[in-house]
Every structure is written in structure tokens, then in C-alpha cells.
Amino acid sequence: MKRKKILGSHVKRLLSGVAIHGRRHLNEVETDLLQTELLLEEAIDKLTSSFMAIHSAVGARQEAIDRLLAGEKPSAEDSAKLSDMSGEIGQHVNVAITSMQFQDMTSQLIDRTLRRVAGLREFLGTLSEHGAEIAPETDSEEIVERLGKVSMALAIQSLELRSMLRKSVDQHHLESGDIELF
């Protein structure tokens, strides 16, 4: 193969490697950020509803207590309401506790994104380092050799980055998870 063609194929291989690697990681970053957004939105919605419901239940309980303190005889309805209120508040608190776990999930997704971004920065650093070693007067054989080395280094870095970023959060909603006893 002519020297020019060899050089061209190495440049093509390098550019396509950078594009594939970059696109793959950026797609994952986008997916993780969208998942984070979904979890945050749902958490805020559910927490807002829970806190409003707790506020409303506590207010209703206080009204009933005030009537009792004022010497009113509790109606059958009041008695039933008072005895149900603890359970009602407890249910809202449980929903709030389930929703608050968004922090655990989103922090794992954000951590994964940060490690991926750091990996991409290192990847670009490798590209820059090798690029700096190529001077205008460098002959084409040496350029071919350097391009081969940088392609290999980037392929290894890409594999390493993918292997250390296993996804541990697949949840897209804040519903109580599965339970399995062995």
C-alpha cells in the first residue's frame, strides 16, 4: 500500500475511534441525566403531595383537639377521625420516606456521569499528548507509527472506562422495589 494511503487509513481509524468512543459515552451521559431528571421530578411531586397531605392531616387533628379542649363532646365522627389520623399520617410519612430515597439513586447516577466525564477528559488528554509529539517536519512513517500508538492507547482507555462504569441504578420511578427472600 502506498505511504499516503497507509497514513490516510490510520487517520481514518483514529478519527472514527474518537467519534465512536465519544458518542457512546455521551449517549450514556445523556441517558443517566434524563433518568436523574425523571427521578428528581417524581421525588419533588411526591414529596410535595406528602407534605401537603401531612400538613392537612395535622391541621384536622388540631381542630378536633381544639374542640375537645373547648369542652365539646366529641362526635362519633370526630372519634373515628382521631383514631384514623395516626394511620393516615403514617401512610403519608411512608410515601415521603420512599420518595426521599431519590438522593441515593441520583447520587449514584451523578457519580457515574462524573467518572465518565473524567474518563473522557483523560481520553482527550491522551489524544493531545500524542498530537503534541507530531511536529510539522515529522516524516509520514513516524506519523503512521504514532497514530497507531494513539489509536491503541485510546481503544484500551475506552475499554477500561466502560468496564468501570457498570450501571447499578435501573430505577426510573420511586415505587417500592421488589423483595425476594431466598
Partner: protein
């Protein structure tokens, strides 16, 4: 006498929520910030159940279970995983390591208490 549960998780908010839920149901709760801390606390005092996360710094949940199972005091103590991990592959690893159950986060306090009651009463 109230039973004691060792709750191991590197997320402080998660630990607080687990502790809040279990204490409300009458259990004593000892908290640990990762597997290593959990192992040290398990050696210091006897616990009736271990509830552990999987992905943690220093020592993960599977390593904690494997190590606990080598200790005579913890050969038969119930150990439940409470983690975001939900794949069958991870559950199989947990089972092989000696876990007695797998709870996928987020947890509902009522369901958590029901499971704990079922396991240790």
C-alpha cells in the same frame, strides 16, 4: 428485649430513613457507613439481623456477607441486601455469598418492617 439490626449503607440519608423506620417498629438499630465499618461493628456486638447496601467504598455488601459468614457468630444470622441493584445476576451473587434476601431500593417502610418481622420476628 428489642432485637438489634445492623444497617450498613454509605448514604447517610438512607441510613437515617432505615433507622427511623425500624426504630418506630421497636427495633434497636446500629448504623455503619460501609462494609468495613459494618464488619467492625458486627464483631463488637452481636446483632440479630444485618441489612446491607451493595455498592459502598472500602468494602461492598457482597464482601461483607462473605466475611461475616466466615465468623462463627454470623454463620446463621439473617442478612438482607437493600440495594439499587436489581439484576438477577447480582441477586444470584448475593445468594451465593450467603444473603437471605434481596430488597430493591427504594424501600417502603411498611414493607421493610413486614419483611424484617418475617425474618426475625
Amino acid at each position: 428485649m428489642a432485637k438489634t439490626i445492623l444497617a450498613v449503607d454509605d448514604s447517610s440519608s438512607l441510613r437515617q430513613m432505615v433507622a427511623f423506620s425500624l426504630k418506630a417498629a421497636g427495633y434497636n438499630v446500629v448504623e455503619a457507613v460501609d462494609g468495613q465499618d459494618g464488619l467492625e461493628k458486627a464483631k463488637l456486638q452481636s446483632v440479630d439481623l444485618v441489612l446491607t447496601d451493595q455498592n459502598m467504598p472500602r468494602m461492598d455488601g457482597l464482601a461483607l456477607i462473605k466475611t461475616l459468614r466466615t465468623l462463627p457468630n454470623y454463620a446463621k444470622t439473617p442478612i438482607l441486601m437493600l440495594t439499587t441493584e436489581s439484576s438477577d445476576e447480582m441477586k444470584a451473587k448475593g445468594r451465593a455469598a450467603g444473603a437471605n434476601g434481596w430488597l430493591v431500593k427504594p424501600f417502603d417502610p411498611q414493607r421493610l418492617i413486614e419483611v424484617v418481622k418475617k425474618v426475625i420476628g
